[in-house]
């Protein structure tokens, strides 16, 4: 064979469609991979398989209806999504909710974050081939979901927030159950480390894989635990404290490595911090009304309202442009997954197919959040 022919054969790339139905894309995401053997040359995400045009729907809906749509975006951080819209609307109608509501919202947010991270941890193990972790994660998540069920009647899409407060007051044994859960989970979280974090194979699979530099993290807008693992200080709870975050003490988890293991550790540490926040608040829920009465159809004054919250995946922003009517003129959701997915190619280029799976699970994508 002439050298020309040999080169031609060598340079032949091939393409693989990962998704829309694939076990590790966590939903209907389609990745077009260009491969050279097992080495990834390029990752091209194709979106829109579950795009429901929520932003367009919002232009026809009243503000109270919009809250319910936000559940369907990042369903694992539904409470925080609800909260973002409610806070923006409350800002618009200049309504100050009671301290009780603020504390309840914060506790529920942190519980939601915990449940989201537990699910992520289980799925992460499964993506790397350790299926047992999946069941462990779900076992512990079940306790939180049960608390949710007792509090607001729903297990996943909770719709607990309404503009002006929360839908119902917390049940009598809410505090007892949350405290029980914290005691239980403090024993179980070290188990997570035993099973995965300290495992040699797990470390080999994640350390030094999918590195995202701090500059890239900022430029791509990778927020949440994924961004903080690269050293990008982006915790909204610290920068723009909302609800009761200004009265609790917690630390922002920052790592500098930016690899899969740092992202993994950031989430594990965040679980400890969440429990710490809940512990500070659970015994000090102030008395007060759980819900301020608002008009049946809220009309926001003419103007613009931006509210960001920290969901389990990062910075979630609601940008309401109101023209004084009962529904917004334009509503934009800044979803964390959308920006994070943008950086996938930078992280995955040059690594192996198996690494892509590890990267995909450490950036913790929820596809409805991306597609909106």
């Amino acid at each position: 064979m002439s050298t020309e022919v040999v080169n031609e054969i060598k340079e032949q790339e091939y393409f693989i469609n990962m998704g829309p139905q694939h076990p590790s894309t966590h939903g209907v995401l389609r990745l077009l991979l260009s491969l050279d053997g097992e080495i990834i040359k390029n990752v091209e995400p194709h979106l829109g398989y579950i795009h429901r045009s929520i932003e367009k729907m919002c232009e026809k809906d009243t503000y109270k209806m919009i809250v319910h749509l936000t559940d369907r975006m990042d369903y694992l951080s539904c409470h925080m999504n609800n909260e973002a819209v409610c806070l923006a609307v409350e800002k618009g109608i200049e309504l100050e909710v009671s301290d009780r509501v603020k504390v309840i919202r914060t506790i529920m947010s942190e519980l939601t974050r915990l449940s989201s991270h537990q699910l992520w941890w289980g799925v992460m193990g499964m993506d790397l081939g350790a299926i047992t972790s999946f069941l462990y994660g779900f076992r512990d998540r079940e306790m939180i979901i049960d608390i949710f069920e007792e509090t607001c009647g729903a297990r996943l899409t909770m719709n607990y927030n309404v503009p002006g407060g929360v839908m119902f007051d917390i049940p009598n044994n809410f505090q007892k159950r949350v405290k029980e859960f914290i005691i239980y989970f403090k024993k179980k979280l070290p188990e997570y480390d035993d099973l995965l974090s300290n495992n040699v194979i797990f470390k080999a699979r994640t350390e030094g894989v999918g590195i995202l530099s701090k500059e890239d993290a900022i430029s791509y807008g990778v927020t949440g635990p994924s961004g903080r693992a690269s050293g990008f200080s982006c915790d909204i709870r610290k920068q723009h404290p909302y609800s009761a975050y200004d009265r609790v003490d917690f630390k922002e988890i920052l790592y500098s490595e930016g690899d899969c293991f740092a992202r993994y550790k950031a989430r594990i540490d965040e679980m400890w911090e969440s429990m710490f926040i809940i512990e500070q608040l659970i015994d000090n829920i102030p008395e007060g009304s759980a819900r301020e009465t608002t008009r049946a159809v809220i009309k926001l004054p003419k103007g613009e309202f931006y509210q960001k919250v920290e969901t389990a995946r990062g910075e979630f922003g609601v940008y309401i442009i109101s023209d004084g009517k009962k529904s917004p003129y334009r509503l934009k959701f800044r979803s964390p997954g959308f920006s994070t997915l943008n950086a996938l190619n930078t992280m995955a280029k040059g690594s192996k197919i198996a690494d892509l799976v590890a990267i995909m699970s450490t950036i913790d994508l929820v596809i409805p959040d991306i597609d909106r």
């Binding site: 979106l47 829109g48 026809k60 900022i218 807008g221 927020t223 613009e304 334009r330 943008n342």
Partner: protein, 154 residues
């Protein structure tokens, strides 16, 4: 940097800007002509006293008489935030310079705005529809988009 200082600093760039809605919004808002947009964005990012290195939101709005693109910027080192707005008067064929070279997150955000509002971004490396099919007709987020089957009027 407090709001007033930031405002003076940005004025000192010498780019033609205006400050609409002075006290209405929590962020300092500035409005710029689309032709100067990229120049201003570059200054905002690269000047060390402003250094807006993180764009957390990019929104397109259809105002019926014009198209508006809103950039929410934040400086990770100084912690201040600014909103840059630009109005594109040609609503039928809106065009503006891409800011992908400054903030990479603009890649997806601009593709989304192109997909749903039909704003073209010059110098964008890969301007394609992101959510909808390539042969989709019209731009759904425009106010005059009609879909009798799927859009329910209240």
């Amino acid at each position: 940097m407090i709001r007033e200082e930031l405002k003076n600093k940005i004025i000192s760039f010498g780019i033609e800007i205006s400050f609409p809605k002075e006290d209405e919004t929590p962020f300092l808002t500035l409005s710029v002509n689309p032709t100067h947009l990229h120049q201003l964005a570059k200054q905002l990012k690269e000047d060390t006293s402003t250094s807006f290195d993180y764009m957390f939101c990019q929104t397109g709005i259809d105002w019926l008489e014009n198209m508006e693109i809103v950039y929410h910027l934040r400086s990770t080192s100084h912690g201040h935030e600014v909103v840059v707005r630009t109005q594109i008067t040609d609503r039928e064929n809106p065009t503006v310079d891409s800011v992908y070279d400054l903030w990479k997150t603009a890649d997806f955000h601009e593709r989304e705005i192109f997909d749903l509002l039909g704003v073209r971004f010059n110098n964008h490396p890969d301007l394609r529809r992101i959510f909808l099919d390539d042969d989709w007709e019209g731009y759904p987020l425009r106010k005059d988009y009609v879909d009798e089957i799927n859009i329910v009027e209240l």
